[in-house]
Amino acid sequence: MSPSQETERTTGPAGKGSEDPFARAGLTLSQEERARLAEPMQHLAGMLVRLRAAIATEEPATIFPPPRPWT
């Protein structure tokens, strides 16, 4: 068994109310992987903060534009 396998942990069964988003998505991450993901997770969090702030005043939202005539 590799060192990374030895440190693997499952914080909750997939899709069963776990508070760990990785486990909720069905992924089992080792402590090493979690440590390596810490910095990019911060960058991703920053992206999401900026995105949410940018769309805060954008109403009405356009998710589905009016359909063109079906020809």
Partner: protein, 464 residues
């Protein structure tokens, strides 16, 4: 044959009978033999099939029945594109042992139908996003200008193969810059066409709403030849544009007189400072266009970080959706880089994805408004030369804004064009982007630039 022709030059040579498809294919295969152990560009080589196709092309040229400028031209395909008879593996253990594709993807079928000689399949970053990885079944491609340096990705094998003369053109895919980045770092031209211009069926997706398929080659003219032969509607891709494909070759030589070209200076400052050579390349390109009668002006575009935020969240969410079933059951079969990148997708919610798509619409509208006053946008295609492959930061896409991803978000055509060499002796590059559907204008301006720029030196590998 030491001189590597462009596709256009080779076609003229075939027509004049000063060059033969068989001779050109043999020279290409010889370069694969000489350089592939260093560059790792080819995954699978089909010399017998290539020579058979070359002989057939040669017979057509001799009979005066050539199919066009691609007839007899050595090409190859990135290994996420289906080519009949070859397994499509995406350079991943996840797809190891896959059965050979039973049919060509439309791009492969169209190039084959135009007479192109397919030499085989080319290295890619794993599933077009995970690289440079050293823990995949095959090693990453290396830069022919200096094999210790990065090719960029993900169309890494395509760029390495063209820059080393193994082929004259090949397929790339571009979800966040994977055609234009390798073209920039390897001294080539690579166009990400308008979204929907080239059908993507038969190609493994990375992010459905950002994925584009297109060619890399040595010049913009060659890109125009390759793109002409694969553009156009195919009902097997629901995002394929149903309108007739534009004429990409007819006006290629018409120059830039009267065109308005905008430079978003803010994109080149702040967190993405350009190297001096790249800064000078932008200035020189502006001078060339101005001398040819274009009007150069500054433009304001949405800031790169805003565009990158929306693009990365969409890319990550869609890639996670595509890979989630395999991630749950075969996670250890991925290379470490892609395995960990994709895992970040688990952190995104429906709210996040919708926020990014809503933001996308606003940013696209802002760029469309800015382009009311200009016909083309001129930017750097990379901040500088290729870094050493061992020094590539696997998380740079999350840390730094991208010069390339904005045009995946907008679906605009954008081309990377070589602009000379930097202080380290490796290529630097510019990028030109047009309005959606105006691929011909982008190619025309890139061609005009290349004509004025003059020929580039060849990689030292080829000179030795």
């Amino acid at each position: 044959m030491d001189l590597i022709p462009t596709i256009a030059e080779a076609a003229r040579g075939f027509a004049a009978r000063t060059l033969s498809p068989v001779e050109l294919t043999r020279a290409s295969l010889d370069r694969v033999e000489r350089f592939n152990a260093t560059l790792h560009a080819f995954l699978v080589l089909d010399p017998e099939g290539a020579l058979m196709a070359a002989r057939a092309a040669e017979a057509r040229w001799m009979r005066g029945e050539a199919k066009g400028p691609l007839d007899g031209i050595p090409i190859a395909h990135k290994d996420i594109v289906d080519v009949a008879g070859f397994p499509t593996t995406a350079c991943s253990r996840v797809l190891a042992g896959r059965q050979p594709a039973i049919a060509d993807a439309p791009i492969a079928a169209r190039w084959r139908g135009a007479g192109a000689v397919c030499l085989g399949k080319l290295t890619t970053h794993e599933f077009a996003w995970g690289g440079p990885s050293f823990d995949l079944p095959t090693p990453p491609a290396r830069n022919p200008w200096n094999p210790a340096h990065f090719t960029a990705g993900s169309s890494s094998g395509t760029a390495a193969a063209i820059a080393s003369g193994m082929i004259l053109g090949g397929t790339g895919t571009d979800t966040g810059g994977s055609i234009r980045g390798p073209a920039a770092l390897c001294g080539l031209a690579g166009i990400k066409p308008s979204y929907g211009l080239v059908p993507r069926s038969g190609v493994i997706p990375l992010a459905w709403s950002l994925d584009h398929l297109g060619p890399l080659a040595r010049t913009a003219e060659d890109c125009a030849i390759l793109l002409s032969a694969c553009a156009g509607h195919d009902p097997s891709d629901p995002a394929s544009d149903p309108r007739p494909a534009p004429d990409l070759l007819g006006g290629l030589g018409e120059g830039v007189r009267g065109l308005r070209i905008g430079i978003p200076e803010a994109w080149h400052e702040g967190v993405l400072p350009l190297t001096q050579a790249t800064r000078e390349a932008i200035d020189r390109a502006a001078e060339i266009f101005r001398d040819q009668g274009a009007v150069i002006r500054a433009i304001d575009l949405p800031c790169l970080q805003d565009l990158t935020d929306a693009g990365m969240v969409i890319l990550l969410a869609e890639a996670f959706a595509i890979h989630a079933p395999w991630l749950r059951t075969r996670r250890q079969d991925y290379g470490e880089i892609l395995r960990e990148r994709l895992a970040l997708g688990a952190l995104l919610s429906a709210e996040d994805y919708l926020a990014a798509q809503r933001r996308r619409r606003t940013l696209v509208a802002a760029i469309a408004e800015a382009m009311r006053d200009v016909d083309l946008i001129l930017t750097a295609a990379a901040v500088g030369e290729a870094p050493p492959i061992e020094a590539v930061d696997r998380w740079s896409g999350f840390k730094l804004p991208s010069l390339l991803l904005p045009f995946n978000l907008t679906g605009q055509p954008a081309i990377s064009v070589a602009a000379g060499l930097g202080a380290g002796g490796l290529p630097v590059a510019i990028q030109l982007a047009g309005r959606p559907g105006e691929d011909a204008l982008v190619l025309r301006a890139a061609h005009a630039y290349e004509m004025a720029r003059g020929p580039l030196p060849v990689p030292p590998l080829l000179a030795s």
